[in-house]
């Protein structure tokens, strides 16, 4: 199984990348390429939906970490949502991604985004 990435863009500055399959050494470059194609000015909130991601290795983690740094350095934010147990286990072991960037559900993510919106308005 490889990786498929669906990119859903909205006109309110958010985009959502839905990952299905594996993010590993064979597919990390594909993810990198998709992320590089996102304009951080047009999409300051970049959400990576992991609900159908079945596997992540350190090559995949490196890509997620890089994507987060890229967004941050451009004044945008990259947030991860819905990691499945096997992916969450890997996140927990390597502690590569800050806990505040990973949301266990869309409800939790939406609450965070609402809070951010209120703070900025």
């Amino acid at each position: 199984m490889s990786l498929s990435i669906e990119v859903l863009k909205t006109d309110n500055g958010k985009c959502r990348l839905e990952l299905t399959g594996r993010l590993d050494t064979a597919t990390a470059a594909e993810f990198d390429q998709k992320v590089e194609g996102l304009d951080c000015n047009d999409y300051p909130v970049q959400i990576v939906d992991l609900s159908s991601l079945e596997y992540v290795s350190s090559a995949g983690l490196r890509s997620l970490f890089k994507a987060k740094k890229r967004a941050h350095s451009a004044g945008a934010e990259l947030l991860l949502v819905n990691p499945q147990p096997q992916v969450r286990k890997v996140f927990d072991i390597v502690k590569a991604l800050p806990k505040e960037a990973v949301f266990v559900s869309d409800v939790e993510l939406d609450a965070y985004l609402d809070k951010m919106q209120r703070a900025n308005s």
Partner: protein
């Protein structure tokens, strides 16, 4: 159950071997969690060896033997790369911003026992996991 998977020290050969290993473990009836963990461990170890274990131009053949033993699965990795004992690798500082270095923590956390020895020119790494 005793099966050997072989590949050359070429990173493009790692994924097909991982796919074969995963298919084999599933055929043998192992659950999704152990199959996931063993694929991940194998990816980390094989790629580390293939990418960092050799001087330029050196050719080698690596093997992964899968053995079922009294309630546990044993994976035996063999190669003739530079001597490398992952048990000697320092634990990664989680505060460090450097990318990577996550393979060893994954290996240690996802296995029940790890043994390393150097046999002549060979690295032999044996990992065990309850099954």
């Amino acid at each position: 159950m005793n099966r050997v998977f072989v590949l050359e020290n070429d990173s493009s050969q790692v994924e097909p071997v991982l796919n074969d290993l995963e298919a084999h473990l599933k055929e043998e009836g192992f659950g999704s969690e152990i199959v996931h963990d063993l694929r991940l461990i194998s990816e980390e170890l094989l790629l580390n060896t293939v990418c960092y274990g050799y001087d330029d131009g050196v050719k080698d053949q690596l093997s992964v033997r899968v053995i079922r033993e009294k309630g546990e699965l044993v994976l035996e990795f063999r190669d003739q790369a530079c001597a490398f004992n992952p048990l000697d690798a320092e634990d990664r500082d989680p505060e460090c911003e450097r990318l990577g270095g996550w393979g060893i923590p994954l290996l240690k956390e996802l296995t029940d026992d790890i043994q390393y020895r150097r046999e002549g020119k060979q690295n032999v790494l044996i990992v065990r996991k309850s099954a």
